[in-house]
Symmetry: none
Subunit: 417 residues, 2 copies
C-alpha cells in the first residue's frame, strides 16, 4: 500500500470532443467521483484521434500524476487508436487476451448473440495489460501498472465507463492506495457581488488557517465560498471547517442563504412551508422564468398556487387589478405599478405572498429615461409590500435570469427575518 | 495575414473544474464555435489554481497551437492567478491599463455603481496585454501577441466569455488569419427521434457526396442535421449544400421547422406575427417554462399577451374557468381538463391561440393509473382544440423541458399547415 497524496490525470481521446460535437461529461463525473474518495485530480486533457497527440498526452499525464485515467478510443473502428498507442507507448506487442475473450463470451451468452471477428479482435490487448470486465459493452477496459504508475483505459461511452469505475477501478485503487480524507463545505451567498463580498470578509479570510483552502465561485447573482480540508479524521476536519463557517457569520451572515446543495428556490420553499404561507408570482419581464425556478423544486405545489404572466397591459389591469390610471401616469416599469402587481397577484390567486417583476429586458424597448436593463421587482407579504429598482445589462436572457434571482433573494430576506 | 491551417489550444484554469464541482461547458462551446469558423482545435487541458500547473499548461498549449485560448482565473480574489502567471510566463510586469479602466468606468456608469479598489485592481494587466472589453462583468479579457502566437485570456463565467468571443475575439482572429472557407448548414427537425429520422433519410444519406460531412445532433425533443463542406469558394459550397437540403425535403420535410440559428420558439413567433394572431399559455406541470421559452424571444410582446400558471386546482377553476365537475370526474391530468385549460386561457386573456400543459412531472405524485411522466398537452386556435398525451420520463426537469418543446411543436404544426 502506497502513502501520501494520490494524484490523478484524466486523458480524454476523441475528435468529436475537440470539435465540440460532444459535451465531455465524463471528465466531470470522474473528477467528482475521485474527489469523494480522496484522490486529487491535478490535470485533465483532451486530444484527437491521432497517434502523436495520444502519445504526447500519455507522456504529459504521466509526468504529472501517479494514476492516469484514459477514456475513449476503444471502439472497433479504424479511428479508435488507444490500444495500438498504448502498445507503442509501453513498447509491448498487442496480443490476444484469453481472460478478456472469456468475459466477452459470457456477455454474449447473456444477450444471446453470436461473436463476430470484430468482437474477437477487440480482446487483443497490449501485452502488459490486465482486462477490466465491461458488463455493458464489447470493449474491455485495461489496467496497466508500469514504473510505479497505474494507467487505466476505459471506453468513452458514459454508462460503460461509469460501470467500470464503480464496479472495478475505484475498489481496486482503494485497495492499492492509502487515501487522505477530504472534506468540502460550500457556503452560498446571494445579493452581493464577488468583489464586495471579498472586501467584507477580508479580515476573516486573513485569519483562515493555512490548511483550509478557500475558493470564490460566482454565478448568476450568487457567490459560493468553498472551504476544503484534507487530513485523516473526517469528524475533526468537519469540526474545523464548521468553526470557520461560524466565524464567518458576523462578516457575511446576512448574505448566506444556505450550504452545500441548497438552492435559493429550495430554501425559499422550505421557509414558506415552515411558515405555512402560499406564494404566487406576477411576471412581466421575467415572462414565467421566476415561476419556472420555483416549480423546478419537487413538491412546490404544497406552497405555490400559480402565476399570472402579464406581458400585455390589459392583462395587468384585468387579471392583476392594476389601476389603468397608475399605468397611464407612471408606465408599466415603475414603483407604483410593480407594487400593485405584487399585491394584485395575492388577491387574484388568494396567496399570502406575491412576487412581481416588470422591466425592459431588451434588446429593444429602451428609452433615455428608462434604458434597457431598467427593472422593478416587488414582494408583497401580508399588509407589507416592498419594491426595488435594478439596473442591469443589455442582454435579454441575462436580465431575465438575474431579475428572477434578485426577486427570490428579496423574498428570502423578508421570510428569513 | 498568416496562411495555412490555424490550430487552437484551449486552456481552462480552475480547481472547481478539476474537483468536478463545475461542468466545463465553455470548452465545448469554444470548440464548436471555432470549428464553425474554420479553426482547428487540437488540444484542450484543464489545470488547477496554482502557478506551476498554469505555467506548464501555457507552455504545453503553446507547443501545440498557434492560438491559445485561456478561460478562468480572472476574478478579483487571491485564488485568481491567471494575470500574475501570464506576467511571469512572458516575463513582463503587471501594470495599470488605462484603456481597461476606462471600459470599466463606462460599465459602472451604466449600472450606476461606485468603483471599488478591488474593481480598479482588476484593470492591472500584464504589460504586453491589450484589454478586451467585458460588457457583462468587471474582469477585462486580454489579447497578447508573442513570438508569432496569439494568447487570449477570458473570464470563466460563460456569458462573459461568450460575449467576448462573439464581440471581439472571433472577428479579430478572422482579420489576422487566412482561413479555409467552411460552410455549415443546420437543418432543424422536431417531433421525430434520431433513429427514426435516420431510417427515413437513409436513401438520401447514401447518395450524399463524400465531400459533404453529415452529423446528427440530438437535443431535447429535436434532432439537428449539420452538413459541412470545406473549400475555397463560399458561394459554390453553399450552393452544393443547398442542393442536398432540397433533395432532403421529400424524406424529412414535414419535420423540418427551420435552419441554422432558427429556434422553434422564434419560428412559432414569426408565424403568429405573420398571421396576426395572439398567444397565451395555461401551464400546470411546465410551471412557467413554456412562457419563458416564448418570451425569451426579443419582441415577443407583439404576439404574446401572457399566461396563467395554474398549479392549484382553484386557479384552474377561477382564472381559467375549468369546470369543477370536469376536475372531479377526470382529474387535472386528463384530456377533458387540458382542453378546458387551453380554451379557458384564450377567453381569460383574450388571445387567438392558447397552449395548455398538465401532468405529473415527478418525482412524486404518480399513481398506478397515471405514473410519473403522464402528461397532457393541448392547443386551442379559433374554434379548434387539439389534445395529446405524452408518456415521458422519471426526471422532473427533463419532463418540464420536453413537454414545453412538444407543445411548441404541436402549435408549429397547426400554424404551418
Amino acid at each position: 500500500m502506497k502513502e501520501g497524496p494520490v494524484s490523478v490525470a484524466i486523458l480524454t481521446i476523441g475528435d468529436e470532443i475537440l470539435y465540440g460535437q460532444t459535451l465531455d461529461t465524463n471528465s466531470q463525473w470522474l473528477s467528482a467521483e475521485l474527489d469523494t474518495y480522496g484522490f486529487s485530480v491535478v490535470h485533465r486533457a483532451t486530444v484527437g484521434d491521432n497517434e502523436p497527440d495520444i502519445l504526447q498526452g500519455l507522456a504529459d499525464a504521466a509526468a504529472r500524476a501517479g494514476i492516469i485515467l484514459i477514456t475513449g478510443g476503444l471502439g472497433p473502428t479504424a479511428d479508435d487508436l488507444t490500444k495500438p498507442c498504448l502498445a507503442n507507448y509501453f513498447k509491448v506487442p498487442l496480443k490476444a487476451n484469453p481472460a478478456a475473450l472469456e468475459d466477452l463470451k459470457a456477455l454474449f451468452r447473456q444477450i444471446n448473440r453470436e461473436l463476430t471477428e470484430t468482437n474477437i479482435a477487440q480482446t487483443n490487448l497490449p501485452a502488459n495489460a490486465e482486462p477490466i470486465p465491461n458488463k455493458l459493452g464489447t470493449a474491455p477496459g485495461m489496467w496497466i501498472a508500469d514504473q510505479g504508475k497505474i494507467y487505466v483505459s476505459m471506453p468513452g461511452v458514459p454508462h460503460e465507463m461509469k460501470g467500470m469505475m464503480t464496479g472495478y477501478v475505484i475498489p481496486r485503487l482503494q485497495e492499492e492506495f492509502h487515501l487522505p480524507v477530504v472534506v468540502h463545505r460550500v457556503v452560498k451567498t446571494i445579493g452581493i457581488g464577488e468583489s464586495w463580498l471579498a472586501e467584507k470578509i477580508a479580515p476573516w479570510e486573513q485569519k483562515l488557517p493555512q490548511n483550509i483552502g478557500l475558493a470564490y465561485l460566482p454565478s448568476m447573482g450568487q457567490v459560493k465560498l468553498r472551504l476544503t480540508m484534507m487530513g485523516k479524521d473526517r469528524q475533526q476536519l468537519a469540526k474545523a471547517i464548521n468553526e470557520q463557517i461560524t466565524a464567518l457569520q458576523p462578516y457575511a451572515g446576512k448574505y448566506i442563504y444556505g450550504y452545500d446543495d441548497d438552492e435559493i428556490e429550495q430554501v425559499v420553499g422550505r421557509l414558506l412551508r415552515q411558515q405555512n404561507r402560499t406564494l404566487g408570482t406576477a411576471e412581466s419581464c421575467t415572462g414565467g422564468y421566476l415561476a419556472h425556478l420555483i416549480t423546478s423544486v419537487a413538491g412546490s405545489s404544497d406552497y405555490f398556487k400559480g402565476s399570472i404572466i402579464a406581458y400585455a397591459n390589459e392583462v395587468k389591469e384585468k387579471q392583476l387589478g392594476v389601476n389603468p390610471a397608475t399605468l397611464a401616469a407612471h408606465g408599466a416599469v415603475s414603483e407604483a405599478t410593480i407594487k400593485e402587481m405584487a399585491v394584485g397577484v395575492c388577491r387574484a390567486l388568494g396567496t399570502d405572498a406575491g412576487l412581481a417583476t416588470s422591466g425592459i429586458a431588451g434588446p429593444g424597448g429602451g428609452t433615455t429615461e428608462k434604458p434597457v436593463g431598467t427593472i422593478w421587482i416587488a414582494v408583497a407579504l401580508g399588509d407589507q409590500v416592498k419594491a426595488k429598482q435594478l439596473n442591469l445589462f443589455k442582454d435579454r436572457l441575462l436580465n431575465i435570469k438575474t431579475t428572477a434571482m434578485a426577486t427570490l433573494a428579496m423574498l428570502w430576506r423578508i421570510l428569513a427575518e
